[in-house]
């Protein structure tokens, strides 16, 4: 699903966020990326989401070499990927329902189908009863679940999450991870950046550790 081939990302200052990184994530895997802040976790996800372009090397996502995705085609490319952010990035000028419906509106899904799919997504994260509320009135954990519902409402094959539990206490974190786990069980590939190693260990998933932009460890408990 994701294949990085000798990828380097150097920022204008000369600082390298990712250095000659190669890794593969298979379809249907749930993989955690760990490392200290500045280790390159976020940059890795940003390369996959085409927020950044690699300085050298190749990033192939779902058999598409991102190098050949033109600027104009980036929106269509991003619509195939669900994205979850540490700070949720919800829009606070509209209710939960409209936040979750946004990707469907962008994709041009008809209202009837959109309503059904938004409710289904909200149901999956257990927030169906809060669809009319403003995200601001929700707790941090609930807001993150709204963000997850928004990421999965288009039923992407790949979901990437940057520190999704960064602002949550352990109980809420576990709950969020369980939601991710359920998506993985129905075939969604997940790549989650996190520094919460104890939580990751409890889930027993493959873990890629980065340090200074290089691969430090790749532990797969199933192998």
């Amino acid at each position: 699903m994701i294949q990085l081939d000798n990828v380097t990302k150097r920022f204008p200052g000369g600082q390298e966020a990712i250095s000659e990184l190669s890794l593969t994530v298979e379809r249907g895997e749930m993989v955690f990326v760990t490392g200290h802040s500045g280790a390159g976790k976020s940059t890795l996800l940003r390369l996959i989401a085409l927020i950044e372009r690699p300085t050298s090397g190749q990033v192939v996502v779902d058999n598409q070499n991102t190098r050949f995705v033109k600027r104009r085609k980036i929106p269509a490319y991003r619509r195939q990927i669900g994205m979850v952010f540490q700070d949720h990035r919800l829009l606070y000028d509209r209710p939960v329902f409209d936040n979750v419906a946004l990707p469907l509106i962008i994709a041009g899904i008809h209202h009837r189908d959109a309503v059904r799919r938004v409710r289904a997504a909200l149901d999956q994260v257990g927030l169906l009863h809060k669809e009319k509320q403003n995200p601001q009135t929700l707790s941090a954990g609930e807001q993150q679940r709204v963000g997850i519902a928004r990421a999965i409402v288009t039923r992407p094959k790949l979901l990437i999450a940057d520190e999704p539990t960064g602002n949550l206490d352990p109980d809420l974190s576990l709950e969020v991870m369980r939601i991710f786990r359920r998506f993985n069980e129905v075939g969604v590939t997940l790549l989650i950046a996190s520094h919460d190693i104890s939580l990751i260990d409890r889930l027993g998933c493959r873990r890629i550790a980065l340090e200074d932009g290089r691969l430090q460890q790749d532990i797969d408990p199933w192998q």
């Binding site: 989401a49 927020i51 946004l102």
Partner: protein, 321 residues
């Protein structure tokens, strides 16, 4: 971008086509933009007022010029013109010709000014009396002053002048419309000035709307970034701003139209009184349907144009971080 939740009731039963989706999307975006304007009623109203007044100005002057033209037109139709007859024509022949012309249906009256009368008049008015006395004979011809009947149009008067000009007895037809031509020349200058002024005011409107849209874009930066992050194209994020520009234009244009119509309504009373005093049939010409729609059309165009260039310029720059 608000989602209607009761769409099930109105949505067609068949699977929606691309056009239906497109239409739906635009309908909700346009209503969303309108809703956004209504949430800041004071700011929106100010912009609409500015656009309205700015557009009403040239439109109103245009209407005034049109009215002035019609008034001057009715004057020129009642204009006398002079027919200078050949020098060798006798007074009696001139009288006969005058009577002949006077019988025409398109002529109201003919006055004969004989050469002698003309000379006396000229001596009195010009002050060249003594010099003229030196001349052995009278250099002036007999003249017929023809007043066309009121039913004439500009074209029929020209025809009448041509016909009289072609008579064998006629030397020259002098049309005393110079002042009308001057008046029209002045109107032309006024019209040119309006055109230049309108262009400048149009630019002002573009700047005003563009600046408002720019502020709007800045205020919604986060929203634009997030929507781009989850796969919105530039066209998608631009759309609500284009609709905002459209609404500004439509509302501003409508307001301008109302201003002009109200101004004309206020003028109607005094003009009717003036017309009564002159026993003329002067009426206020108001805007035609085509002109009214042109005002609104121009306003909508300016709104769309301004929002388009602003949104295009700023949308490229806002990329998700």
């Amino acid at each position: 971008m608000a989602v209607t939740r009761h769409s099930d009731a109105v949505a067609p039963v068949s699977t929606p086509g691309a056009f239906s989706i497109w239409l739906n999307r635009h309908a909700s975006t346009s209503l969303g933009a309108l809703g956004r304007l209504s949430r800041q009623p004071f700011a929106s109203l100010m912009i609409v007022l500015v656009i309205g007044v700015t557009l009403a100005l040239p439109a109103a002057i245009n209407v005034l010029v049109k009215n002035a033209q019609s008034v001057s037109g009715s004057w020129s139709s009642a204009l006398d013109f002079s027919v200078y007859l050949k020098r060798d024509l006798s007074v009696s022949a001139a009288e006969e010709l005058g009577q002949l012309i006077g019988q025409r249906a398109d002529v109201e009256s003919v006055v004969l000014v004989t050469a002698d009368e003309a000379l006396v008049e000229f001596k009195q008015q010009s002050g060249f009396g003594k010099a003229l006395d030196q001349l052995g004979n009278n250099p002036l011809p007999h003249t017929l002053i023809v007043r066309p009947s009121p039913g004439n149009t500009g074209a029929s008067i020209t025809l009448l002048q041509e016909e009289i000009g072609n008579l064998p007895e006629t030397d020259l037809v002098q049309v005393d419309t110079e002042w009308v031509q001057r008046f029209h020349a002045i109107l032309d200058i006024v019209r040119q000035t309006i055109a230049i002024g309108s262009a400048l005011l149009g630019i002002a409107i573009i700047v005003i709307i563009g600046n408002t849209i720019r502020l709007d874009i800045e205020n919604r930066r986060e929203e634009i970034e997030v929507t781009k992050l989850i796969g919105a194209s530039n066209a998608f994020v631009r759309r609500p701003f284009l609709w905002t520009g459209f609404w500004y234009g439509l509302l501003g244009g409508t307001f301008a139209l109302l201003l002009v119509q109200y101004g004309l309504h206020l003028l109607k009373g005094p003009v009717t009184r003036l017309a009564g005093l002159y026993q003329g049939n002067i009426t206020v010409i108001s805007l035609s349907a085509a002109e009214s729609s042109a005002i609104i059309g121009v306003a909508v165009f300016l709104g769309l144009f301004a929002s388009w260039i602003t949104a295009a310029r700023h949308m490229q720059r806002i990329e998700p971080r």
